[in-house]
């Protein structure tokens, strides 16, 4: 039972240390932060190495072609050369594979996961009409907003004055409207982020209050 008690005290104390940042930056918060960064990195290294060992080692012994597990191991060890400036060139193969695979995964995700679905999700006239006049209005607003937000980012501005006036008239105006829709999205993102993190903050304050109450009852119990 004492482990939980010590744990409760440690947890409550650490939470208070971090919450003290709200009243002002102080050495206690700085101490708690260094504890946090150290603990997280240590935990991360341990979990990652154990997990990789668990996936790689069985693959080495198993019947499947050994090369499947050997190549990543060799490339991984080569990556460690990046730690020494003199031989960092030997780590280029591993970073090359990471960059190549990562670029393809990100591009695949952007194309298949973001651009196409978002274009399709704008819907079409008959889809909107199904939900009556409100659906049509909302649909139009979404279409104009999306196109406006897209055009708000246009980078190249034509050079010839005539073209530039035409550009400002059309793309420029739509871009300004788009910027308002962007700010609407940013405001909404701000609200949701605030709600989510408030939930966590309330949870932490609640945990501290409960922790102190429990400790008080325990001290009361033992002394009473």
């Amino acid at each position: 039972m004492t482990a939980d008690l010590i744990g409760l005290i440690a947890g409550t104390l650490l939470t208070l240390l971090v919450l003290s940042y709200i009243l002002g930056d102080n050495p206690l918060y700085r101490l708690a932060l260094h504890l946090l960064v150290g603990a997280t990195v240590g935990y991360g290294v341990a979990v990652t190495t154990v997990t990789v060992l668990q996936t790689v080692l069985p693959a080495l012994q198993s019947d499947s072609p050994r090369v499947r597990a050997l190549i990543p191991l060799v490339l991984g060890i080569l990556l460690l050369f990046k730690g020494f400036p003199r031989w960092s060139a030997w780590g280029n193969f591993s970073t090359a594979l990471l960059v190549g695979v990562g670029a393809a995964v990100a591009m695949g995700g952007a194309l298949v996961g973001t651009i196409i679905p978002q274009i399709a999700a704008v819907g079409s006239l008959n889809v909107w009409l199904r939900e009556g006049s409100a659906g049509l209005i909302n649909g139009l607003i979404v279409m104009i907003g999306t196109i406006g937000a897209l055009l708000a980012f246009a980078f190249a501005v034509p050079r010839q004055p005539a073209l530039r006036r035409l550009w400002n008239g059309s793309v420029g105006v739509l871009g300004q409207i788009g910027r308002l829709f962007l700010l609407a999205a940013l405001g909404a993102a701000f609200g949701t982020a605030l709600t989510a993190s408030l939930t966590v903050l309330v949870g932490r304050v609640y945990a501290v209050v409960m922790g102190i109450q429990q400790l008080l009852t325990l001290i009361g119990m033992s002394s009473g």
Partner: protein, 693 residues
């Protein structure tokens, strides 16, 4: 000058394209530390002044030979104006990296067409443009920032083939001009652009005896009469001598007053036969602390051992030269003359011409004073004390002084970083907002505030109904996609759902693509499971799946192959996993997600692996709206979202945790109200209060 490979025209230093035909110019490589000339990368010695380019002591082993340095990317700094002073170009090479070279076209897919036009002048703001190296068209004089212009020496000595324009060299220097390096075979090489402060030092000491008779007017008259008296000395052969040692002691006549304190090495017999080693061999840097190699870097706070300043060791010539007091003629203790000097001793028989002692004036009684003559009357037979051309010693000294001058001047700044005045009222607003926030959260916990009505969450009620119909002992796969950072909210969202599943006698199989997921699952399961002994029969924690979507795909295909995190046993041996090998054998999937990407990943993979398995979700309030479309589209059979959803679900189960939810929701509501009020008040204050000062 760079010669265009295609049409041969001469282009300015550091140009990228030929201004005649626009062809890209070859990128030159190494910059010479001595004369600043650009040399092809492979050179060991500079083409112009043949100084050593690569420090002698670290000749790079073969494979580590400096690869042709790829050109500096991004902001290139002002290039070297043609004919710049030598010490200035070296200073520039030290302080501002030079030689902006064209981006060398990379291997295969280099789409960049050769002869790429310079980056558009107009797009880049003028302060960046003037910083940018003058690309093909030599930047007009005006583009060079004025702080750079006046630093630029008057037009430098001309290129070798063009006759040296007289006006370029200051007229008082012209007369003194003497070939510096050993005369190049055909045309007299342009004198190494000796900086005027050095030349000035030189002129009085050694009246140069240039081969070509210098134009009369140029030499100051006090030097003129010296000119005639100096016999036509053969071009002095450079002697590789240590500093100051090269100055021959005048065979006869007293040492001029001002020279006395300069200690002379023993006279060197002039063997005309000894061929002086070509200057190139002379390793100028041998004894000298040249700027790049031995000058210890400067300490800049935060970069400790790399840039620490060790006191520069004082070169020997500096140490003993001034310190030694001139030997008193009179008071000299007669030292015992070494035997190699004896033959030089004047023999008794020869009448030594007694110097007249001064009779009147304040110098009366002294002997060996200079006879009063017209101006500084040098003894008729005085040899030129310093050879016409700057001796390697002089160059070496100059080199040292340059080294001292060119040492990076950036001393650790005294000015503290711009400690902006505490933003007006920053600490105060920060403290006030903090106190108000904490008060809003704590108040409902201490005092019951029936402020908000019971929460309503229709989707949570629908989920409760679905889970209620779950047949007993069905395996349920739970994707635990949240860690400790989100556990406060998600534990209260997932808690009632997990409790309900346990009540329905379901077998829970937990996996996670987040590193801290499995451990967060353990914490909640331990608190919700009634008696721990049933743990092994009811729960299997299959741990962390690295690799986002790929990890999920692999796990869904082969659930049996994983190892159970708690017991370390392979999953297939657990009785709970007896009939579960992949997603196909699972009765229901529960996704507990706090980030939008995790929910999307799992839904995509499950719709591919096993489309007809019922999928439900417990999500954070943050992604409630992003997940509603999945509910509408039928991909999700039910969803509990945020704290309100958790509270409604809890009320259905009435497991006694309701009290906690009520506190929680009231505090959250109060906090949100407080922040909304703060935002509006802040907006009004700053709307009225005006702009940020």
């Amino acid at each position: 000058m760079i010669y265009c490979p295609k049409c041969g025209t001469a282009n300015r230093q550091g140009s990228k394209f030929c201004n005649e035909c626009g062809a890209p110019l070859p990128a030159t490589g190494l910059r010479c530390p001595m004369c600043g000339a650009m040399n092809p990368a492979g050179n060991l010695y500079c083409d112009r002044c043949s100084a050593r380019l690569i420090p002698a002591e670290r000749v790079p082993p073969e494979e580590e030979k400096p690869e042709r340095p790829s050109p500096p990317k991004g902001i290139s700094l002002p290039s070297v104006p043609l004919g710049e002073e030598e010490w200035l170009s070296e200073l520039r090479a030290e302080a501002l990296d030079l030689a902006p070279e064209e981006e060398t076209p990379g291997w295969p897919g280099e789409l960049e067409a050769p002869g790429e036009p310079p980056t558009p002048e107009t797009a880049i703001p003028e302060w960046l443009a003037e910083l940018e190296a003058p690309a093909a068209p030599p930047a007009p004089e005006a583009a060079i920032p004025e702080w750079l212009a006046e630093l630029e020496a008057p037009a430098a000595p001309p290129t070798p083939e063009a006759p040296p324009p007289e006006a370029a060299i200051p007229e008082w220097l012209v007369g003194l001009e003497a070939p510096a390096a050993p005369p190049a075979p055909e045309a007299p090489p342009p004198e190494a652009a000796i900086p005027e402060w050095l030349v000035g030092l030189e002129a009085p000491a050694a009246p140069p005896a240039p081969e070509a008779p210098p134009p009369e007017a140029a030499i100051p008259e006090w030097l003129v009469e010296l000119e005639e008296t100096v016999p036509e000395a053969p071009p002095p052969a450079e002697k590789p001598t240590p500093p100051l040692a090269g100055i021959p002691v005048p065979p006869s006549g007293e040492i001029p007053e001002w020279l006395r304190d300069v200690e002379f090495a023993p006279p060197i017999q002039e063997e005309p036969s000894a061929q002086p080693p070509p200057v190139a061999e002379v390793d100028v840097h041998a004894g000298m602390p040249s700027a790049s190699t031995t000058v210890p870097p400067i300490l800049i706070e935060g970069e400790e051992e790399i840039l620490s300043t060790a006191p520069a060791e004082i070169p020997d010539w500096l140490k003993e030269a001034p310190a030694e007091a001139p030997p008193e003629y009179g008071g000299l203790v007669p030292a015992e003359i070494p035997e190699w000097l004896r033959p030089l001793q004047p023999r008794e028989g020869v009448a030594v011409e007694e110097e007249p002692t001064e009779t009147e004036g304040f110098l009366s009684g002294l002997r060996g004073l200079l006879p009063i003559g017209k101006g500084l009357d040098m003894p008729a037979t005085a040899q030129p004390l310093l050879p016409r051309a700057p001796r390697p010693a002089a160059v070496a000294r100059a080199e040292l002084l340059q080294g001292l001058l060119s040492r990076p001047l950036i001393t650790p700044p005294t000015a503290e970083i711009r400690e902006a005045p505490r933003q007006s009222g920053w600490v105060l607003t920060r403290f006030l907002v903090g106190v108000i926030l904490l008060a809003a959260i704590l108040l409902p916990m201490l005092v019951r505030l029936p402020l908000f009505g019971p929460p309503t969450a229709p989707t949570a009620e629908a989920l409760f109904a679905t889970v209620n119909q779950l047949p007993g002992n069905t395996p349920v796969l739970i994707a635990w996609e949240y860690g400790p950072a989100e556990s406060d909210e998600m534990d209260r969202v997932a808690g009632p759902l997990i409790e309900h599943l346990l009540r329905r006698e379901a077998r829970l199989i937990v996996v996670s693509t987040r590193m801290e997921g499995p451990a967060a699952a353990e914490a909640l399961l331990a608190s919700r499971l009634v008696d721990p002994s049933e743990r092994s029969r009811r729960i299997a924690n299959l741990g962390y799946l690295p690799g986002q979507a790929a990890g999920v795909r692999e796990a869904l295909g082969n659930l049996g192959g994983r190892t159970e995190a708690m017991t370390g046993l392979p999953a297939s041996q657990l009785d709970i996993m007896a009939d579960v090998h992949s997603i196909a054998d699972v009765g229901m999937v529960v996704i507990l997600a706090a980030q939008p990407d995790d929910l999307k990943t799992w839904l995509e993979q499950i719709s591919v692996a096993n489309p007809n398995v019922p999928v439900v979700a417990g999500v954070s309030a943050r992604i409630e709206l992003i997940s509603t479309p999945y509910l509408a589209a039928g991909q999700l059979r039910g969803m509990v979202a945020g704290l309100t959803g958790g509270a409604v679900y809890e009320r259905q189960l009435d497991t006694g945790w309701g009290r906690e939810y009520e506190y929680y929701l009231t505090s959250l509501g109060m906090a949100q109200l407080a922040i909304a009020a703060l935002t509006v008040i802040g907006a009004l204050i700053f709307l009225v209060g005006g702009r940020k000062r």
